[in-house]
């Protein structure tokens, strides 16, 4: 949901009360009743209409965010962006760990979210604010968006090469309705009326640079 019933989620103390104690109690009771099955809680949340709200705010009430009156938009995490780009284009990153020697090389099919160690990193992950895993605090992750990140996605050779040479992307462009393929692969939806245009590397570039792709919404 992008926000805790206690906000910040790891700041639990008597003078930082939950915004909605009844809701918290309800979820706690559900968790106990389900024999601490977290998937039960995920299911509850994911199936709730609250979770499925649109991000477009319906009210300007300052309490809206604390009560989940609209979906909280938030930028995709560093690992998720690079994994998504790799999945869309069918490319891979090479991760390695240079400490300690001898170097460790991570298999190419390893996703960034599955990297076992904070010291195994890449300039992309650092640029996009992946946490170094020093403290375990949620606030260690830096998801703020910077111009450097925009430069990278808009105009770097790294992303350009993926879009140009990615085999999975090429396949999307060659099979069936290419425009639809791109929308489905990148934004998980069909193009709306007036959307689309000629499918190609350029449309893929446009879509991966939209707010819709870069933010959970």
């Amino acid at each position: 949901m992008g926000r805790g019933i206690i906000h910040e989620p790891d700041d639990i103390r008597p003078d930082n009360p939950p915004s909605n104690p009844e809701l918290l109690d309800y979820l706690a009771a559900e968790l106990v009743q389900a024999n601490y099955d977290l998937k039960h809680i995920y299911r509850l949340i994911l199936k709730s209409s609250t979770y499925q709200f649109s991000p477009i705010p319906q009210t300007r009430d300052p309490k809206a965010a604390a009560h989940f009156a609209a979906y909280t938009v938030r930028r995709l995490e560093a690992e998720v962006i690079i994994d998504a780009l790799n999945q869309i284009t069918g490319t891979a990153e090479r991760y390695s760990s240079i400490i300690p020697e001898p170097y460790t090389f991570i298999p190419e099919n390893c996703r960034a979210i599955a990297l076992p160690d904070g010291s195994i990193t890449s300039s992309f992950l650092e640029l996009f604010g992946r946490p170094p895993r020093d403290t375990g605090l949620e606030s260690e992750r830096n998801n703020r968006i910077t111009a450097a990140q925009r430069l990278h996605l808009l105009n770097s050779s790294h992303v350009r090469d993926k879009l140009r040479n990615g085999p999975a992307l090429r396949k999307l462009l060659q099979e069936g309705n290419a425009t639809e393929n791109l929308y489905l692969a990148i934004l998980s939806r069909f193009p709306g009326p007036g959307e689309g245009g000629a499918a190609g590397e350029r449309l893929a570039w446009t879509l991966i640079n939209t707010t819709e792709f870069l933010f959970r919404h």
């Binding site: 240079i98 020697e101 170097y103 650092e126 968006i145 111009a147 450097a148 050779s157 446009t206 933010f215």
Partner: protein, 472 residues
């Protein structure tokens, strides 16, 4: 951020001392060249967004307290001859040591300053020795690339709990970010590749990393990573941007959301660099052909020219990395290849800065991590090579309050050890900070608010011999 992720591994040094597999290492690390971290224009956008979105969590890293002294220097260009250039073939020639020491380079040349002679392959630099001084007695005694690079560029000993930031990160922390650099161009730039295993920002974290340009300034088009795409014209970039604006319906619907607004501002700043005037600093086509030729039509020479342009635009620290100087084998042919480019590039840079009145306020320093063994290894497999020599190295310093035409310290008859006036890396670094007006008591920004002094001092247990007062 606080974790010493690039902790120095002592074992590595002994391995490197014997076999410098530097290229494979760099290739591994070079992947990181991308538009690495540093670019911090986003910070100020974030500040703007934070203002709009109300109170934020307290930021963990407070800026160091400003209490700067009268500064003579405003900016720094560091020319890093990675691998370690031979001091005896460059700025500390020893023609009387015999051919086992000099090899074929035994005829040093007089400079325009009486009494100062430098290597015979540096004729252009010999013409303007009044503009720079030579430190012939820097020493740290470390023969491993990693340790030595760390010491020369941080002034500290590696292996402690903290990984210290390099001079460039410290200087930009005080002169770039603290003084509220409003430039779109990041204040700390590396031409063209970062140093790989060396963590420029140390514990200060990613905000203080340099922006590495990638690309080649000597190419027809200098494709600065993220800023200049090789195959897109400005018009094409504009059309793409317009297309993106049209496709970005969600951003329009959420225009009031502080995060989305910050993202859009970041995008605007990015486009100012891509198609706006800010990015033009990297476009060398506006420079006179004659000047470009004087700098040397090679990557190093043109990097020097870019460095001057960046300094003119207010960039605080430019590092030019040249990875070529680890000449264990066939050292002398390598010198004949490398030194003429260094000579032209550096000499033209100094002259050009002086012509534009920038040398007074710009420190230029040039060295590698160590010197090289004065005795030539003639035997196979080296075939006339020189190995690592941390006991002595030479450093060229110029501008920004450093006097020219001076020699600091001396090595012994063969250039094997320091004879007079040892200079430790921390002495030079402290002197650079002093000229920049960085308070010797100032603290570095630490993510956990730990008190760490910017300037290396004897209280830390460092060996120091004092600032370079003789040339300041």
């Amino acid at each position: 951020m606080a974790r010493n992720r690039e902790v120095y591994v002592p074992l590595a040094d002994t391995m490197v001392t014997l076999y410098c597999q530097r290229f494979s290492r760099r290739q591994v690390l070079g992947q990181g060249a991308l538009a690495l971290a540093g670019l911090l224009l986003g910070e100020r956008l974030y500040a703007a967004a934070a203002k709009r979105s109300g109170p934020q969590k307290p930021q963990p890293a407070p800026e160091p307290a400003p209490r700067t002294r009268q500064a003579k220097a405003k900016a720094v260009i560091q020319i890093w001859l990675s691998g370690g250039p031979a001091h005896t073939d460059t700025f500390d020639p020893k023609p009387d040591a015999g051919s086992d020491y000099t090899g074929p380079l035994n005829r040093p040349i007089e400079t325009n300053v009486k009494g100062i002679r430098i290597g015979e392959l540096l004729p252009e630099l010999a013409k303007l020795a009044d503009k720079y001084s030579i430190i012939r007695s820097m020493t740290h005694g470390q023969n491993g690339h990693e340790t030595a690079s760390y010491m020369v560029q941080t002034g500290r000993m590696p292996g402690g709990r903290l990984v210290y930031p390099a001079v460039g990160a410290v200087v930009t922390a005080f002169k770039g970010f603290q003084e509220g650099s409003q430039s779109l161009i990041p204040p700390y730039i590396v031409l063209t590749q970062p140093q790989g295993r060396f963590s420029e920002a140390g514990f200060m974290g990613i905000k203080y990393k340099p922006f590495a340009t990638g690309g080649d300034p000597n190419a027809y088009r200098f494709t600065v990573e993220g800023i200049i795409a090789p195959d897109l014209t400005d018009d094409q970039q504009r059309r793409r941007r317009d297309e993106l604006q049209r496709a970005d319906a969600l951003a329009m619907a959420l225009a009031d959301d502080p995060q989305i607004a910050a993202a859009k501002e970041a995008e605007k700043a990015a486009y100012d660099l891509i198609i706006g005037d800010a990015g033009k600093v990297f476009d060398l086509s506006t420079e006179k052909e004659e000047l470009r030729t004087r700098y040397g039509r090679n990557t190093f020479g043109q990097s020097c020219l870019v460095a001057r342009r960046l300094i003119e635009k207010g960039v605080k620290y430019v590092t030019i990395n040249q990875f070529a100087w680890d000449t264990h084998k066939e050292h002398f042919p390598a010198m004949r290849r490398l030194l003429p480019n260094l000579d032209k590039g550096l000499a033209t840079l100094l002259a050009d800065l002086a012509d534009r009145g920038l040398l007074e306020s710009t420190i230029v320093w040039c060295c590698g991590e160590f010197g090289r063994t004065p005795k030539v290894a003639w035997e196979a497999p080296w075939n006339g090579g020189r190995h690592h020599h941390g006991a002595v190295l030479s450093v060229l310093v110029a501008g920004g309050g450093f006097k020219g035409g001076q020699v600091v310290g001396a090595s012994d008859a063969r250039g094997e050890n320091v004879r007079d006036r040892p200079v430790y890396p921390g002495d030079l670094i402290g002197s650079i900070y002093e000229l920049l007006g960085i308070d010797p008591d100032a603290n570095l920004p630490h993510p956990m608010n730990e008190v760490v002094k910017a300037t290396p001092s004897p209280e830390e247990g460092l060996k120091l011999a004092g600032r370079l007062k003789e040339i300041m």
